[in-house]
Subunit: 165 residues, 2 copies
DNA sequence: TATTGTTATACTCTATAACTATA
DNA sequence: TATAGTTATAGAGTATAACAATA
């Protein structure tokens, strides 16, 4: 099970009216839902992130993608090994640098990525089911402003762990 | 480092305009900030949650608090051992049932809990610094409605992990 | 016989460092 | 000598199951 950390002590004990607390709590729930929704597809949230990254930068080297996602090289080996074994990703030799492996999605990988995106979309719809379209827009705007202010300028380390830091 | 899971693949690659994604991303950031802010106090988010739970149910048994937070008994032993070694928590025999240990905060534990609450409050203030008071209220309301709809009825398993699932 | 706390153990996840093959 | 990928290894964190004392 994924584990959040900040929502710690939620339970039946207390529910401080704090944005930080609520965001963390809902974020945790959403993470769990994503993991549960992805499980039938045989992948985890981190694989989803990896597949997306590969899809959007086809041909990039293993290390380069790992760096962008803050995944150390040795970990990338295991993760890509796994995806390659399932025929979702392929390592191809790079003519320009024979040390490097360029990563590509297989057709099966692309199909799976589409299915995973569907799962994510369904979660979004369920999550916002109680909100009017205008309310959802309002929420998106407010959260976006929080994200801008709070996030470190570059990439944030989200793929690294299993549950939640 | 704490790790979220759903925010996977954030990086420089993509930023879907999704509430689920944004909530998870910001929630992850907040968790990291809490961990960082608590570190100088010598505790982690899960300890914070545990201290709060004990503070609000003084005298409850170890098992009972563990159950409320979805922490297995064997894990509670280690966690409470740790807090007791630092003189933040005390186990006291229960006259009614000599198998059970009732948990109490020491004065030092209460002081530390106060400090931790300050840390959390500062994070909240920083997070919402860019929002007008009315906007923050709006956000609280919208998030509250998400939390109601998305959360399972009872307790949610947040204390289990280290950072974020 | 069931339950509280504990211990022992095994498993998963992850990162660090050493290694190889190229550059 | 530096870098891409790999392998080996060791550490942290966690859960499961066996155990002792008490109910």
């Amino acid at each position: 099970m994924v584990a959040d950390g900040i929502s710690a002590g939620t339970g039946s004990y207390e529910t401080p009216p704090s944005v930080a607390f609520l965001v963390s709590r809902v974020g945790f729930e959403v993470s769990s839902q994503l993991a549960a929704g992805l499980a039938p597809l045989g992948i985890e949230p981190r694989d989803f992130g990896l597949l997306r990254a590969i899809a959007q930068t086809e041909g990039e080297s293993q290390r380069s993608i790992g760096q962008a996602l803050s995944i150390p090289p040795s970990r990338m080996v295991t993760l890509i090994d796994d995806l390659e074994r399932r025929r979702l990703v392929r390592r191809r030799p790079q003519p320009s640098d024979r040390r490097a492996h360029a990563l590509y999605l297989t057709p099966a990988g692309k199909r799976l990525l589409d299915k995973a995106a569907d799962v994510a979309m369904r979660i979004e719809m369920t999550l916002c089911a109680g909100l009017a379209p205008a309310e959802r827009e309002e929420l998106l705007g407010l959260l976006g402003r929080l994200a801008e202010g709070a996030a470190p300028p570059g990439v944030h380390p989200a793929l690294a762990g299993a549950g939640r830091e």
